[in-house]
Symmetry: C2
Subunit: 288 residues, 2 copies
Amino acid sequence: MWTVTAKIIDGKARAKEIRSSLKKDVESLKQKGITPKLVVVLVGDDPASHIYVSNKEKACAEVGILSETHKLPAMTNENDILKLILKLNTDRNVHGILVQLPLPDHINEENITNAIIQAKDVDGLGTINMGMLIKGEGDPLVCCTPQGVIDLIKTTGIDIKGKNAVVVGRSNMVGKPTAILLLKEHATVTICHSRTVDLGSVTNKADILVAATGKAKKITADMVKKSAIVIDVGMIKTEKGWSGDVDFEKVKEIAGYITPVPGGVGPMTIAMLLKNTVKAATRSAGIK
Amino acid sequence: MWTVTAKIIDGKARAKEIRSSLKKDVESLKQKGITPKLVVVLVGDDPASHIYVSNKEKACAEVGILSETHKLPAMTNENDILKLILKLNTDRNVHGILVQLPLPDHINEENITNAIIQAKDVDGLGTINMGMLIKGEGDPLVCCTPQGVIDLIKTTGIDIKGKNAVVVGRSNMVGKPTAILLLKEHATVTICHSRTVDLGSVTNKADILVAATGKAKKITADMVKKSAIVIDVGMIKTEKGWSGDVDFEKVKEIAGYITPVPGGVGPMTIAMLLKNTVKAATRSAGIK
């Protein structure tokens, strides 16, 4: 008796490829006198946020993007953040603006996210970029994690068109935009969530399964279709270390392709942030 | 032997109820000095568009909304339409602006739709209202047909939460926003379209089935789950008269509830346009 285990989708390697391609784009931009610049606004002392921001800075440096981080105390008021964003909006040397989420409770996240002008909204979370995304209008800056998910699916070489794709989770940052991108690729798309009755009976039919529930090992082997592509967006700190949404060890005996955690979607999110920043810089110069 | 046929969801009657409730809202607004006003821009000679616009005018009159239609020749250039919209945007007596679609080929529909300010975009097709809709942000003006679809489903008294809802069609006017609204009501939502493989196997599992394909009788009895709620958005002119997307006569022997064509979703679309106009007028006055 033998089992064929899933091919591991190596997000770390794929992200590296993207970064080295972006490095060339950045060099070519610099020759035209443009140095892409990302400004990150970080409010408060959340340790995880500080780690994320530091990883973003490192990734920027690697591809030649200038980065600058405004670290503001947790008690900063909303107006001061808005003023900073308005200043960055009109600064011609700044191409991308990112406000690290979550923000402290006294600050309205929507107000802040929507203050960033569409052209510099490299997180793609503003209302205009999201509206463009759902309408299929123009060429929006698309949120980073969903872009990374689609890219990883495409690395398998399997055509998304006509496949049954199931997204578990309906957040604004992952679930909903991922569903829209899969629809654009002509998948038949189902969105599940905490109110879904008999989740396994839905995920069982997924040729492509994207798990973004934030619950460790929520997706078990019995919930996965044989040979499916399984993309695990989860990144949950447990007593035994990092865990994804998917019970990796058992699901990999069923799936055809699977992303690990860490080293799957995570590195792709940052790569797509860099990609959006280079895109924004290129456009600001009127090159594309 | 006997068969139980579906209950007919009477969109005409429900739309009438909505109109009579709106009539009271309009009277109350008038007592506060506000007369809701809808301006329709109609470009060209498409006979169907002229009929739709005339129906909208009649419906406005019935509930006491002022309406005004700008009929422009087919060769009108885009700039002239944009100038008219900009004027209407700043006219304090105008609460809703609607550009009848489709527009002639030489005019960019996106430019026109997006020129209408969010607060007066009573068709809900602008990028900002669509972005707010997908993000679940604030209280957008939601496109009329999807609003009508949800309202009709609710008339059955059946809770949408946890149900399998399937939307066939992925247009910006119907399919995508309807899916988002169903998701907001906590349904598990699947979006199908022309590239869906074995459509019947998906629709067969739908507790709630919304058909918006634009293809006459595309949904046949074998594709419908017993006792399902079937909402037919189609309105196709055939040699035998008007047809929906659903094979009504046969599907009604299977479904639990079904909308007829005409007299189902159609009248609801106009009712929701009136509702959006009254909402816009109420807000402009700072009452809500």
